[in-house]
């Protein structure tokens, strides 16, 4: 009997949210331990489960995995969300990395001084509209299929939906020039596992607030 994966992180999105999305989309139940104090974090370090003294940490299949991108690749491969061959995996990597770049900007913004934070969010919206979303709109247009790669659901689709929703929180009409992305958003959101994750009461985390920023600063001491 396989034990459930266990996630160690703050009670917020940060670098763990994409991992929650991927597990949820794959229909995998998982447990979470939330870091609230420096003591908890120091205990994890002393236990030797944090290879580089950093979270996210995911315990899965007997391995303490850190480095969010390593975790995401493992999950994608394990749950058949990584395409059928090397070339499909490459495209999924390129698309996922692009959206991860965008989402990292969003994750880092709350820790900046107010003016820089607002500038970061504005840049995210601009990049989304001019650099990232046009690429994905074109990909969908060129092949006319329902999913980004290989005519089946992959990590790249899940990542893109997550990014779309996060950017919409910053600017609701951001998809107004992208009809195929609008259809994509509806379609992927309606996949049963994802639909469930999008409902209240799921393990999806809300946008970061002042309390979250304070907890992270305290625990990580910066």
């Amino acid at each position: 009997m396989e034990t459930k994966p266990k996630l160690y992180y703050f009670h917020g999105r940060g670098r763990m949210e994409s991992i929650r999305w991927l597990l949820a989309a794959a229909g995998v139940e998982f447990e979470e331990e939330f870091l609230e104090t420096r003591e908890q974090y120091e205990k994890l370090q002393k236990d030797g489960r944090l290879l580089f003294d950093q979270v996210p940490l995911v315990e899965i299949d007997g391995m303490p995995l850190t480095q969010s991108r390593a975790i995401l690749s493992y999950l994608a491969a394990k749950y058949n969300l990584y395409g059928k061959d090397l070339k499909e995996r490459l495209r999924i990597d390129m698309y996922a990395d692009g959206t991860l770049d965008l989402m990292l900007m969003i994750a880092q913004a709350p820790f900046k001084p107010p003016k820089e934070k607002e500038e970061s969010y504005a840049l995210v919206v601009k990049r989304a509209k001019t650099r990232y979303f046009p690429v994905f709109e074109k990909i969908l247009k060129d092949h006319g299929e329902d999913f980004l790669v290989g005519n089946q659901l992959s990590w790249a689709d899940i990542q893109l939906l997550e990014a779309i929703l996060m950017v919409e929180e910053l600017s609701a009409p951001v998809l107004s020039d992208f009809p195929l992305l609008q259809a994509f958003k509806t379609r992927i959101s309606n996949i049963p596992t994802i639909k469930k994750f999008l409902q209240p009461g799921s393990q999806r985390k809300p946008p970061p607030d002042a309390h979250y920023v304070e907890v992270v600063r305290n625990v990580l001491n910066f």
């Binding site: 290879l51 580089f52 003294d53 299949d61 391995m63 995995l65 850190t66 480095q67 991108r69 390593a70 975790i71 690749s73 493992y74 491969a77 394990k78 090397l86 070339k87 995996r89 490459l90 990597d93 390129m94 990395d97 692009g98 770049d101 650099r131 990232y132 690429v135």
Partner: protein
């Protein structure tokens, strides 16, 4: 017609150096097209060669690859430097990501504003000596094998050895307390493909100097 991979970047390390190391270690000959002016970058952007308008870009197997991690993943898979199964790949990924985190600070260091350099160097030294090198020394000690994962060479070893050389340039005694890392570096450096890459005249790039930094400012401004 399969030709050699072509790397598009400026003539310096930047984010492309790990790609050069991995191709070289795999024994793959490659060509380079250096961006020298803002127009060079604009041209690449305008002809649709850069998916997200950014370099590095690598032309390989009829494709134009972007996103350094995706590029490295593809090369590692293609040339059997990515372990034998999904669990080995997870470990290789975890180790490679740690290297990449520190390497990014190191590769970006020459391009930082002068006023920020002292603090950045202190951070690099601290992280190398207290976070990353101990972690990899411990991995090697735990299994006593010649390579980080699966008892054979993987991309994690190549990128770690690259990092060791780079950090040593900034902090000459950084490796003093890490005998297993030193041994790994010697071992990997003596592999014929890597040995060749380490010799003068190879496509390995020197530390990004002031001229290189000036040039990249122009291209990316």
């Amino acid at each position: 017609m399969p030709g050699k991979p072509v790397l598009h970047y400026f003539n310096g390390r930047g984010r492309m150096e790990p790609v050069r190391w991995l191709l070289a270690a795999a024994g793959v000959e490659f060509e380079e097209k250096f961006l020298k002016t803002r127009d060079d970058l604009a041209r690449l952007r305008n002809d649709g060669s850069l998916m997200f308008q950014q370099v590095p870009m690598v032309e390989i197997d009829g494709m134009k690859l972007v996103q350094t991690k995706a590029i490295l993943n593809y090369i590692a898979s293609k040339y059997n430097l990515y372990g034998k199964d999904i669990k080995e790949r997870a470990l290789i990924d975890m180790y490679s990501e740690g290297v990449a985190d520190l390497e990014l600070m190191v590769l970006y260091f020459p391009h930082m504003p002068p006023g920020e350099k002292d603090a950045a160097l202190a951070t690099i030294k601290d992280k190398a000596r207290n976070r990353y090198f101990p972690a990899y020394e411990k991995v090697l000690k735990s299994h006593e094998q010649d390579y980080l994962v699966g008892n054979r060479l993987s991309r994690a070893d190549v990128s770690l050895v690259e990092l060791l050389y780079h950090v040593e340039e900034l902090d000459p005694s950084a490796l003093a307390n890490f005998p297993l890392l030193e041994a790994l570096r010697t071992r990997v450096s003596n592999l014929p493909t890597v040995k060749k890459f380490l010799q003068p005249g190879s496509q390995r790039k020197p530390f990004d100097d002031a001229k290189c930094v000036e040039s990249t400012k122009t291209i990316f401004s």
